[in-house]
Symmetry: C2
Subunit: 349 residues, 2 copies
């Protein structure tokens, strides 16, 4: 609707209802010491005028807005979207509103600075607390609580939610090994994230446990994006002796691997086995359906929100680091190496 219509304030409501602003405020905040008839009358006026109290003014007076902030690195990537779903479900249950903050990355030199800017912008202003997904920053100066989903390696002194990345990676690589794969490539995630580091450890530990060599050339550094997964896969598959299987640190990277393999004329799983990590919804729909490690991302968002609300409402005060158990999900992107064409290849060599 058009311009010029000045927003109606609590004053307008008070005037037309014939009461004082404080009475309206009381009704707004459901204080009990208001006469039923007055309450009704004010409620009616509020409804009729379509009045909504100004978030800005409200948050300036009371230290509670019932709004929580969510800061994510990139809207649109499946991981973040899943976290958001969990957060959204949680706030619904707990009676909060959600504000997602995002911004022009180019105005800030580094992601970390950008994040810090948002946190201080939101926190102690219009938001009671903030959830930050895969943070690059390691500390925040703010009066309101912050919880990190998939935190940085520099363990921040804020609460966090993370999954059992090491165990998950172990399970994924063991699965591959049990299928007879000996040359297993690895594409890591964003190096600054705990999850990435732990998955690399898991990969290497699985190899060692099976008595396999940990070869440098089979392990390349990615950043959890599809594009990088694609590039890294090309690199791995162009090796003189390419891997027969690739463990990608997340599903996005795994999709990149599949794309690269297809482009190079390799069939999955016949010529190359691929395992991802995350179990984003797309993993089930991809072709072939992706074998991956479920880390219950939605739950991570949900639990993170619960922790945050506990902090906000004073039910908790310590920093907590919640761990979520992962689970291997076997689908169609892997098969025993014996039947793969690489085996045939070995014969010819």
């Amino acid at each position: 609707m058009g311009r010029g219509k000045k927003a109606i304030t609590i004053q307008d409501v008070a005037r037309t209802a014939g009461v004082s602003v404080s009475t309206v405020s009381r009704v707004l905040n459901d204080k009990d010491d208001v006469a039923p008839e007055t309450y009704e009358k004010v409620r009616d006026v509020i409804r009729e005028m379509g009045y909504t109290s100004s978030l800005a003014a409200r948050s300036m007076r009371s230290r509670r807005t019932n709004v929580i902030g969510l800061i994510m690195p990139d809207v649109g990537d499946p991981f973040s979207v899943q976290v958001m779903r969990g957060v959204n479900r949680a706030i619904t249950e707990m009676g909060y509103d959600l504000i997602l903050y995002t911004s022009s990355s180019h105005r800030w030199p580094t992601t970390a600075e950008r994040e810090r800017h948002y946190v201080s912008l939101l926190n102690g202003s219009i938001v009671d607390g903030t959830i930050i997904v895969t943070p690059a920053a390691t500390s925040f100066s703010t009066s309101a609580p912050v919880v990190a989903i998939d935190p940085n390696t520099i363990s921040p002194d804020c609460s966090s939610v993370i999954s059992t990345n090491h165990a998950g990676a172990l399970a994924a690589v063991e699965h591959l090994i049990s299928q007879g794969h000996r040359r297993i490539g690895f594409i890591s995630g964003r190096p600054d994230l705990q999850s990435s580091q732990r998955r690399l450890d898991g990969y290497q530990d699985a190899l060692r446990a099976a008595g396999l060599p940990v070869e440098q050339e089979l392990s390349v550094t990615g950043d959890y994006t599809r594009e990088t997964g694609f590039r890294c896969a090309r690199e791995l598959l162009s090796l003189p002796e390419p891997p027969t299987a690739v463990f990608a640190a997340n599903d996005q990277s795994a999709f990149g691997v599949i794309e690269a393999a297809e482009e190079m004329g390799l069939r999955i799983p016949d010529d190359l086995s691929v395992v991802g990590f995350d179990n984003v919804p797309e993993a089930a729909y991809s072709n072939p359906a992706l074998t991956t490690v479920d880390q219950f991302i939605e739950s991570m968002g949900h639990i993170g929100t619960e922790i945050l609300v506990d902090l906000i409402e004073g039910r908790a005060s310590d920093v907590t680091h919640h761990k979520i158990a992962t689970q291997l999900v076997v689908r169609d992107s892997c098969r025993p190496v014996a039947h793969s064409s690489s085996a045939a290849q070995q014969v010819t060599v």
Copy 2:
């Protein structure tokens, strides 16, 4: 980081810089009447203290926050995500910040009421204007401008961005007809949206133009979701005389159709041709790759933002309704009916 740390205010900055708050305010807003040395000093103090002005207080005084709001029906659905990408790119270019508002749906009886709540909550408060995606509400009482992406049928008196839905649907169905399909099913979208209505019109007009009958049973009402697409497809394919092709009003529905077809043992495109609408990124990755109508969703978000910013900055005052041209994208989910098994079926009947 921890609790208790009271947020630092402009007063703190003023005190430690040895100037008055108004001087700090001037520096903050880049007013020119500040002595260079004072400016430098204040800037330094601000940086050192890590001060960020309170969004709440700021937006209460000045009618400009450089933040625009985005309200979408469901975070996570590909259409909304694409719009968000476009909006995000636009605000980056124009130096704005973005706040996405979402909330507990159960607290509000209808989507429309919820939307109105957000608009009045954000607008005239912490946001200079709002973009609303596929709105259910038809009007908003607010002082700040609003632009709708894919607006409601009740043409709202706010600016909007929409694509040439009729032409797009026409092209899609003509494509199917040119391949020999005569029984073409249609799954509509959310009935309250202009886009859905126009796509239905396009479907019917294409049929009529080709001299084909418009049969009631071949046209079912969906709501742009994958689940409903799935249900509708089962319905269509269970008909005594099922269609040989289905035009789904959007890609999500089309994915549902593909899923349903597979579950019923039909192969795509051999046994059933499918066309979608939107050309979301997933359409290219699906199996088979989906033939669809591109409506350049990201551009819709980008252009919508440009319109909004023009409104905010006073460069425009009229409501504008921007149209984006659609384009048919042929991929692998359709094939001429002559080779399909339905043709064989006709022989046996």
